[in-house]
């Protein structure tokens, strides 16, 4: 309850703030760029706020927690993009423009079509960037309020639409300033808490209700290898049921052997004599209510001599099979185990978790899914290497020592992985631990399989790094902030403040992601929740604050994007392209209508893209921005022969090529429910193809069209 109260209090404060500051923003100028009167430091931190999206916080931490260093590639890339933005694009562009990227292009070319192309690209990039924010919003709300993902998405959509439509940029600048400052502060607090707690291999954790529970170590059973598993299991608590061989569709893991085992788990009778509890995976679950005395009946009916062998007698209550052994009721539960070859020719079975759908109802680990019974959190360090000298006991450690423990080749981390299979006509999703050596965890290759033979994985990796490097300068909601301060020097100082703050935050993300592994808090169903769940292991208050800040991060970024999208429609599409000379008031009205429509579209897409890492999704938005806008910006600034037709065709080719490759690529095919290998394009990250294509288009079309309308001096002349 505390968590919800702190959360609601924070969001209410933001509402009040945006209303308070929004009263001052009435004219068109103040709606879009706050009248150019924002102080450079405030603007710099607000830039940070707009840039540190849900992706930075949720996505990067989550990807580090599940895939290791590859999540951190996004941090490095997102920050490096600022180098291009500051050194090459910021100042010349500021001298050119008024409100938007399209205005900046329009300052050089008297072309209405160029406004159309730039307006479309702004809209498309904003929507690509909005989707992950919305997915992140749903992820945050789900554990906090216990509501379904899509309600979280709808809630954020509604709040943001109200904030933007009622106030505009002045409010979002200050909201982002406060929020970014607090997000960095509390992330640092959380990293401090991780370092003070230190690293151990059996960390206590919290359950779905936020209660502290002791660490549950997933079991492993070593068996003498033999053709007959049933025989090998004799004398254990398990009975062999079935086994399946799962051919892995992609990656280097090859095939897996999954074994279904039957296990008898003792049912503890409650004081009322009617409720039976089952202790399973550290959770004490009320599994069976027995109004008719059925269990007592089962036990009583059997004559004492036969009791020892009465396992074949069973009753089913609330979908739990109850059998009797040794005079005690037991639940007969089926569970999946992953079989791996151990040393000395043994077979080792590793316990996994499963979610199975039976006749429309969901079962988790063999029991009906309820609020009290959910998947156990996963992840831990199972073994500490000797190089770092860490003794495996919890206790304060320095941040660099923490990194060195993880990077030790002798360290072994267990990370959650997912497999899907069909058994008895039911869809089974399995969650199991994969052991990853410290040195592999802490180097590139966990997500982008660069060590595998396929050239496409390497190209994906390079392509991502190119997109992140070039994408930042091409994002519409970042560019718009160059115009909210007084002059070039202020814009530059803003950018440096932003780089410092963002750089610091991205260094923190590495610790948050690794901390989430070490503290065993990972939700195997979605990596996006890792950072808030890490906070939860330090108590509900920190959890509520971090969640509220992350929620505000989503709110701030979404506001910035929607303002950029509204500006594109009001200024570029309606005012310039359709040539409707609009008054300031009707311009604001058009912008607000756009805000509402874009917001609604983002909500719908946010629901559809549930469960995909949000950092990964933002990476795609960067790829689209780098392909559509980056060649246009650079060439307008540095190539005098550039023509309006060249710009227009480059933007359109960039959008179509990048979106086309993404939609026809393996990652989207997985989302469509098709095999990755059947994708039309083997490349998952488009920038390495679409950006050069867009640039080439620009050059070729510019050379083929007359250079009439451009004024080559406009770059140098200070407006």
């Amino acid at each position: 309850m505390t968590a919800v109260a702190i959360f609601i209090g924070f969001v209410a404060f933001l509402f009040w703030l945006s209303w308070f500051l929004g009263r001052k923003a009435k004219s068109a100028d103040s709606f879009f760029v706050a009248g150019g009167q924002i102080h450079w430091f405030v603007n710099g931190i607000a830039l940070t706020g707009g840039y540190l999206s849900a992706a930075s916080f949720l996505g990067i931490c989550g990807m580090i927690a599940f895939k290791g260093f590859d999540g951190y590639l996004y941090s490095i890339g997102f920050l490096s993009g600022w180098v291009v933005a500051l050194f090459v694009v910021a100042e010349p562009l500021r001298r050119l423009g008024k409100y938007t990227f399209a205005d900046a292009l329009g300052a050089r070319f008297e072309s209405r079509t160029i406004h159309l192309a730039a307006g479309i690209s702004t809209l498309v990039i904003c929507i690509c960037y909005l989707v992950p924010q919305m997915v992140g919003a749903g992820v945050l709300i789900e554990p906090l309020l216990g509501i379904a993902h899509h309600w979280g998405v709808i809630l954020v959509g509604a709040v943001v639409i109200v904030v933007v439509a009622s106030a505009g940029m002045a409010s979002t600048t200050y909201v982002q300033f406060i929020k970014a400052g607090m997000l960095i502060t509390f992330s640092a607090v959380l990293v401090g808490a991780v370092c003070v707690r230190g690293l151990e291999s059996t960390p206590d954790t919290v359950n779905a209700k936020g209660e502290a529970v002791p660490h549950y170590a997933f079991r492993s059973v070593a068996l003498e290898a033999g053709p007959d598993l049933q025989q090998a299991l004799t004398g254990t608590a398990f009975q062999y049921v079935d086994s399946l061989r799962l051919e892995s569709g992609s990656g280097s893991q090859g095939s897996q052997t999954w074994v279904l085992l039957d296990e008898l788990a003792l049912l503890e009778e409650d004081g009322d004599g009617q409720t039976y509890h089952l202790v399973r995976g550290g959770q004490r679950l009320p599994v069976v209510r027995d109004p008719d005395g059925a269990i007592a009946g089962l036990l009583r009916d059997i004559p004492a001599p036969e009791r020892a062998t009465s396992e074949d007698r069973q009753i089913t209550l609330q979908a739990v099979r109850v059998v009797e052994k040794g005079g005690q009721p037991h639940a007969r539960l089926e569970g999946w185990w992953l079989m791996q070859e151990g040393p000395d020719g043994q077979s080792i079975l590793h316990e996994a978790q499963d979610v199975t759908t039976v006749d429309g109802s969901m079962y988790i680990n063999g029991l009906p899914a309820t609020g009290e019974h959910s998947l156990l959190s996963m992840g831990r360090i199972s073994q500490f290497g000797s190089r770092s000298g860490h003794d495996g006991q919890r206790g304060p450690m320095g941040p660099l020592t923490l990194l060195s423990v993880f990077a030790d080749p002798g360290t072994e981390a267990q990370l959650p992985r997912t497999a899907n299979l069909r058994h008895r006509g039911r869809d089974v999703t399995l969650y199991y631990h994969q052991s990853v050596a410290g040195n592999e965890l802490m180097r590139p290759g966990g997500h982008f399989d660069i060590t595998a033979g396929s050239i496409w994985h390497r190209l994906d990796f390079i392509s991502l790094m190119v997109a992140l490097f070039c994408g930042t300068a091409a994002l519409p909601h970042v560019l718009i902030r160059y115009y909210t301060v007084r002059d070039s020097a202020a814009a530059r100082r803003s950018t440096i403040v932003a780089i410092s703050a963002i750089g610091l935050f991205y260094i923190l993300t590495l610790f948050l992601g690794l901390g989430a592994i070490a503290n065993g808090v990972l939700n195997p169903q979605t990596d996006n929740m890792s950072a808030p769940l890490l906070a939860r292991s330090f108590g509900e208050v920190l959890f509520a604050i971090i969640t509220a800040l992350a929620f505000a991060t989503v709110l701030g970024t979404v506001s910035g994007l929607i303002v950029a999208a509204s500006g594109a429609v009001a200024n570029d599409l309606m005012d310039r392209f359709l040539n409707r000379s609009m008054s300031g008031t009707s311009k604001v009205l058009a912008a607000k209508l756009t805000a509402v429509s874009v917001g609604v579209l983002a909500v719908v897409l946010g629901i559809l893209f549930r469960g995909i890492n949000v950092g990964f999704l933002v990476g795609w938005a960067f790829a689209v921005a780098a392909s559509a806008n980056f060649p246009a910006i650079i060439m307008v600034l540095f190539w005098k022969r550039t023509t309006a037709a060249g710009i227009i065709s480059s933007i359109l080719v960039g959008i179509v090529a990048s979106l086309g490759i993404i939609l026809a690529g393996p990652d989207m095919f997985k989302l469509y429910g098709l095999a990755e290998s059947s994708a039309w394009v083997p490349l998952g990250q488009p920038a390495i193809v679409s950006m050069p294509l867009s640039l080439l288009t620009l050059v070729v079309v510019s050379l083929l069209t007359p250079n009439g309308k451009s004024s080559s001096q406009s770059v140098a002349v200070d407006a």
């Binding site: 180098v83 060195s404 990077a407 030790d408 180097r443 790094m465 020097a489 530059r492 780089i499 410092s500």
Partner: protein, 114 residues
């Protein structure tokens, strides 16, 4: 007096040209270092396991280094630009001899550009 009219524009223009060149130079330097990181990852990823100071591996060391390096370059750029802008502003105020010199050097730069 009419002769001194274009002087402020020239000095401001010169500062802009300086900033632009410096920006492109620093960006190129950064891009090379960044490409080095990507290159090692793609062509010899086990090199990333190399032990560096503080017990870090090369991947983390290089990654953190890229973030710190970006910040250092940004500060360098900001200082250099501010100094140049101040010089340009002084040139505008103090009118003649210094400004004359500035004009001379800026037109020389233009020629070498072309």
């Amino acid at each position: 007096m009419p002769e001194s009219e274009p002087v402020p524009a020239e000095t401001a223009d010169q500062a802009d040209r300086f900033k632009q060149r410096l920006g492109i130079l620093l960006c190129t330097i950064y891009a090379v270092v960044y490409a080095g990181f990507v290159g090692i990852s793609v062509y010899n990823v086990t090199l990333m396991d190399t032990l560096m100071p503080f017990g870090l591996n090369l991947a983390v060391f290089y990654g953190l280094g890229l973030i710190v390096f970006a910040l250092l370059l940004a500060m360098l750029y900001s200082r250099a630009c501010a100094a140049k802008e101040r010089a340009a502003a002084r040139g505008t105020d103090a009118a003649t001899p210094e400004a004359e010199q500035a004009v001379g050097s800026s037109s020389a730069e233009k020629e070498s550009d072309a």
